[in-house]
């Protein structure tokens, strides 16, 4: 029996249209390829704010701004530079249903879902394997920070919705705009974008956890680093591969900006305790896996500054009456220390 009540989309998903008029030759398309203008150790800017969803016990919104805004406005929505926008909502802690078996710890259930429009390749409404995988990774990252013993027989639902996901590569490669040389022309794939999504999800979920007031040992920040091969340096990099690695190690790689991503690592890092709760390395790292992980930790430490700032803002807003102009200047000092306490004691 077919579902006649809803207007169902085509089963395979759809692409935003790319019209032939806008598609010139590959050579004409090529200048549009974004390049990394950041330093290798420079992260994209992060916007993070909590208390987005009033009905949830905790929520946060995280956004990575595109590193290289296009010089000219894109001719189609399909050409938008890759960026990351995601929300995390936390419901609970709530009592587990009667049917659930007894658990002495907080039962953490994580859900990560890409919005259908999040990436160029549209996603279905059912969670696919990649999304379930990311959710499992996220759960691992959070499980290490939550003090679960304080909530026996209760559960927390962490729901991450990816509104705009990192692409796995430059869209031009997908439509044949890339060149045959180097790593181009392969088409998009490899799931490199998922790494950035996971890192963002970890950071965002951590902020939402703090917003929900769930006891944690520390704030966990996500960081990602990757080994990339730049177009110009391809041969050189390969030549050097025996010595120092296969390519350049960059923090926060944006797959669309690189010709090829060889490997990437995501960590969930507790800076306060120098612990890693989640580690995911993918690709051909060679012998230098440790370097890559170090870099990912570096990225996590950087993103932590934003996380701390967001949590402090949230705490200030929560525990201090919103100050009228400068009236509460005196109390702000106290607030600062109180917030620091909140963050540090965790």
């Amino acid at each position: 029996m077919t579902d006649r009540r809803r207007i169902n989309p085509p089963p395979g998903g759809t692409h935003p249209p790319i019209f032939a008029s806008t598609l010139s030759t590959p050579s004409a398309l090529r200048p549009q390829r974004p390049t990394r203008t950041r330093q290798p150790s420079e992260l994209r800017k992060i916007f993070l704010q909590t208390s987005l969803v009033p009905s949830a016990s905790g929520s946060a919104y995280l956004e990575l701004s595109p590193s290289s805004p296009p010089s000219a406005p894109p001719s189609s929505a399909a050409y938008n530079p890759s960026a990351l926008k995601l929300t995390c909502t936390i419901h609970g802690p709530h009592p587990l249903p009667r049917s659930a078996p007894y658990t002495p710890h907080l039962h953490l259930s994580t859900t990560l879902k890409f919005a259908p429009f999040a990436t160029r390749q549209r996603r279905g409404y059912i969670r696919d394997a990649a999304e379930r995988d990311l959710a499992a990774h996220l759960e691992t990252a959070l499980r290490g920070v939550v003090i679960g013993e304080r909530w026996p027989k209760s559960g927390v639902d962490v729901v991450v919705t990816v509104l705009e996901g990192e692409e796995d590569g430059w869209w031009g490669d997908d439509v044949g705009g890339g060149e045959g040389a180097g790593g181009g022309g392969k088409g998009i794939g490899g799931g490199w974008g998922l790494m950035s999504v996971l890192a963002g999800a970890i950071t965002c979920a951590s902020a939402a956890m703090a917003d929900a007031g769930i006891d944690c040992v520390d704030l966990v920040a996500g960081g990602v680093a990757g080994v990339v091969v730049e177009a110009g340096r391809t041969t050189k990099g390969k030549g050097k591969s025996g010595e120092a690695g296969l390519g350049t190690v960059v923090l926060d790689p944006c797959p669309a900006e690189h010709e090829e991503v060889r490997a990437a690592a995501v960590v969930g890092y507790l800076a306060g305790r120098d612990e890693i709760t989640e580690l995911w390395v993918k690709g051909d790292v060679g012998a230098d896996a440790e370097i890559l992980i170090e870099k990912a930790v570096e990225a996590a430490v950087s993103s932590r500054t934003v996380l701390v700032e967001a949590v402090r803002e949230a705490a200030q807003a929560k525990f201090i009456q919103p100050a009228e102009n400068g009236a509460a200047v005196g109390s702000k000092k106290g607030a600062g220390s109180a917030t620091a306490d909140v963050v540090m004691s965790g």
């Binding site: 934003v306 803002e313 220390s337």
Partner: protein, 769 residues
């Protein structure tokens, strides 16, 4: 629709204008436009002058501050001189290096407050600089929110809150000064070393990791939280030596990696290699347009505040706008509430309306068989033009055909072929007519003893009865021995108090006064003994067949002795009885019609108590099923409501017809009638009552039962117990008995007990179970 929308747009435009006016005003004020002293009240002017003098005195000559600045400061601090002084001092560095007085920490705090305050207009300015977004959403009023509801307060953390937290605007210790100097130096160095980095990047990776980590730590703690910085760096002792304090412990993993040949050397370099651009201060991004919309309606400070205030409900950003509440469809009562209110009001008004019009009465014609009830009823209807001449002629013709021409009028009421061929009424027939004052429904009850149950059904619905007696010799006497007596007793025990005795067939006795008086005396003697009050009994001589003294006065010269009223006038004069409108609904089903096209299931009956209206849900007892009233018909006309006392036809839905039987009771689901299995009743015995099997009648209901116990014999007038546990109850005595029913049926009020074809007793249920 389009009209409304156009209106809405206009309205929004107004709103925009309003808001921008407000803004303009606000910014103007904030940008220091106190200073047109024209606006100040005289009091304020005085205070301003005094304050100015004090401030000038406090500042002394070393500060060159204009009057305008002083006024501005005073205005902002509400004439607080000390605050203004500290603000102004901070505003201008003293011309002489030596200050007259060291500013206290408090002053400095106030000072920083002043600087924040001064920055405020800037913040609003930034606000307004989002012109593109504003233009883009020009017609959407929710972007034109007042300042305090805006989301982009992210500016606030960006401003150096260091000073607020530290409490002092200058380096508080030599240590800190040293650190600052060192940092500056390092930055210069870094700028110089920048180009070299890229080439050496790969070799220096681990090293860079360390240094960056350190630097990140210092930035994180140093920049954003001085207190934490102080806290962390205090134990580490030689802060001056290595002021990039690790905010986080060194990672042990460093050590194994240092086993590589080159790296020990690199890590050993005393000063961490200066690295390139600082990513950290910039890593916090401004929200994008999208983010602004996502979180903008919910700035963290006010959003959380609101949430705690309103619970966990989702608050719409513009819900506080009075214009919105004005348009908010949820401010008023919901459609359901409107209906419920109208219903509760409607019932009341219905009753009020019903009262003056409550002229509706139900009349029951009763008598011994062949005394002429049906004919009299037919005469009434004919003379009151309820049936026309043409149909009466038709009936006459039909009656002539079978040789019963005198039955023509009776056939108006007796419509079934069985009734017509036998010449007796079998089932109750109803019809209605109207006089000038009143609307009547007449029930023609059968007189034959075989059909007493039907007569009970009719009598139970009547407000008052017309007892028809035959004036003819022998007929009256036989009637008095027969059903006339029983009927009179029955209607009395059914609760009918008012009785009109129509002495019929007066034309047969040539309108003789003697005969009329004789009958009157005999009847009134009997009726008084039966419990009727003499004032409630009226005697009217009439002739159903000829129509004399029914509607029209008797023929000229025939009944000069009679000064009373005609039958109809007498009916009109009868008092209305009280209706139990306020009681819960009770309607005994009198008839069931099935198979209509528009109304597949209809029931008819008289509402004994309560009221009902279209759309009501009713409970059918004893089955306990619920039905919904789809329509109400009163006298073949649709009605929206009906109240107690009216004969109605209800069109029901949502119920299976098998649950409906004659005699079932419709009641309100909130106040259902009970199904009774046994009851105690106070009975008036007509014959000997022993513990025996009887039939219990109430309206259309009848069920087999046994009188299981005789509890006591009571005094007729006082109701006191005269004899307990009697063996039998004598005719005419009042007793309390217990009756067990075979089936549970809904019973309330008055019942009739019959046995062996005669009425044994009439009773009033006292308690039931």
């Amino acid at each position: 629709m389009s009209h409304r929308r156009a209106k809405g747009i206009e309205y929004d435009d107004d709103e925009v204008a309003d808001y921008s006016d407000e803004y303009a005003e606000d910014t103007q004020k904030q940008q220091g436009m106190y200073c047109s002293l024209r606006k100040l009240s005289p009091e304020d002017q005085v205070r301003m002058h005094e304050g100015k003098a004090q401030v000038k005195k406090a500042l002394g000559s070393s500060y060159s501050v204009s009057d305008k600045e002083i006024e501005e400061a005073l205005w902002h601090y509400y004439y607080d001189v000390s605050k203004s002084v500290s603000y102004l001092k901070n505003l201008r560095p003293p011309q002489q290096p030596k200050k007259p007085k060291q500013a206290s920490r408090f002053d400095q705090a106030a000072n920083s407050a002043a600087s924040t305050q001064k920055r405020k207009p800037d913040a609003t300015g930034t606000h307004f600089s989002f012109v593109s977004a504003r233009d883009f959403f020009k017609d959407t009023p929710w972007l034109q929110l007042p300042d305090h509801r805006r989301g982009n307060i992210t500016l606030e953390p960006v401003v150096p809150r260091l000073r607020l937290l530290g409490g002092s605007s200058k380096p508080s210790s030599k240590l800190a000064a040293l650190a600052a100097a060192r940092k500056k130096k390092e930055e210069e160095k870094r700028a110089a070393a920048m180009p070299a980095i890229d080439t050496s990047a790969q070799q220096q990776l681990p090293d860079r990791a360390i240094s960056l980590l350190d630097r990140l730590g210092s930035r994180a703690s140093g920049e954003s939280n001085t207190e934490k910085n102080a806290h962390l760096s205090a134990p580490s002792g030689h802060v001056s030596e290595k002021f990039q304090p690790r905010s986080y412990p060194v990672r042990p993993r460093k050590e194994p990696s240092s086993s590589r040949p080159e790296e020990p050397k690199e890590t050993a370099t005393p000063a961490p290699e200066p690295t390139k651009l600082e990513p950290l201060p910039d890593i916090k991004a401004e929200p994008s347009t999208f983010a602004r919309i996502m979180v903008g309606a919910h700035p963290s400070s006010h959003g959380i505040h609101n949430r705690s205030k309103e619970g966990s409900f989702f608050s719409i950003p513009y819900a506080d706008d009075p214009e919105f509440t004005k348009r908010n469809p949820f401010t008023g009562p919901s459609p359901d509430d409107v209906v419920v209110n109208a219903q509760s009001k409607g019932v009341k008004s219905d009753k009020q309306k019903a009262k003056p019009k409550e002229a509706e009465r139900i009349t029951n014609g009763i008598s011994h068989v062949d005394h002429g009830k049906s004919t009299l009823m037919g005469r009434l209807l004919y003379d009151l033009k309820v049936i026309d001449q043409r149909s009466l002629d038709k009936l006459r013709k039909e009656a002539d055909a079978i040789g019963k021409s005198s039955f023509a009028l009776a056939w108006v009421m007796d419509q079934t072929s069985e009734e017509r061929s036998r010449g007796v009424t079998v089932d109750i027939a109803t019809n209605s007519f109207e006089t000038e004052k009143t609307r009547f429904t007449i029930l023609d009850a059968p007189g034959h003893r075989d059909f007493i149950p039907n007569m009970i059904a009719g009598a139970s619905q009547a407000d008052f009865a017309i007892l028809v007696v035959d004036a003819g010799t022998n007929s009256f006497e036989s009637g008095l021995k027969g059903q006339t007596k029983e009927h009179a007793l029955l209607v009395r025990s059914m609760g009918v108090q008012r009785l009109i005795v129509a002495v019929n067939k007066m034309d047969m006795v040539s309108w003789s006064e003697g005969r009329f008086q004789e009958i009157s005396q005999q009847m009134s003697a009997f009726l008084t003994s039966a419990g009727f009050q003499p004032k409630n009994v009226t005697f009217v001589p009439c002739s159903g067949l000829t129509g004399g003294n029914v509607v029209n006065p008797p023929p000229e010269g025939t009944m000069l002795w009679y000064t009373g009223q005609t039958l109809v006038q007498e009916l009109d004069a009868s008092e209305t009885t009280k209706r139990a409108i306020e009681q819960p609904l009770r309607l005994s089903i009198f008839d069931i019609f099935r198979g209509g096209v528009t109304n597949p299931l209809s029931v008819a009956g008289r509402i004994a108590a309560g009221s009902l209206q279209v759309g009501d849900q009713v409970l059918v007892m004893p089955s306990g099923e619920k039905a919904t009233i789809k329509g109400i018909e009163i006298d073949n006309g649709a009605a929206d409501w009906a109240v107690a006392g009216q004969m109605v036809t209800l069109h029901l839905t949502d119920i299976d017809p098998v649950h409906l039987r004659y005699g079932d009771v419709l009641c309100s689901p909130s106040n259902p009638i009970k199904n009774v299995k046994s009851f105690t009743a106070k009975i008036l015995a007509f014959e000997h009552v022993l513990p025996m099997s009887v039939e219990v009648h109430q309206g259309r209901l009848n069920v087999a039962a046994t009188v299981s116990r005789l509890v006591a014999v009571l005094d007729k007038s006082t109701g006191e117990v005269t004899k307990k546990k009697p063996r039998a109850v004598q005719p005419g005595a009042v007793a309390r008995v217990v009756v067990e029913l075979e089936n549970a049926i809904p019973l309330e009020g008055r019942v009739i007990l019959r046995a062996g074809g005669s009425t044994v007793a009439a009773g009033l249920i006292e308690s039931s179970s």
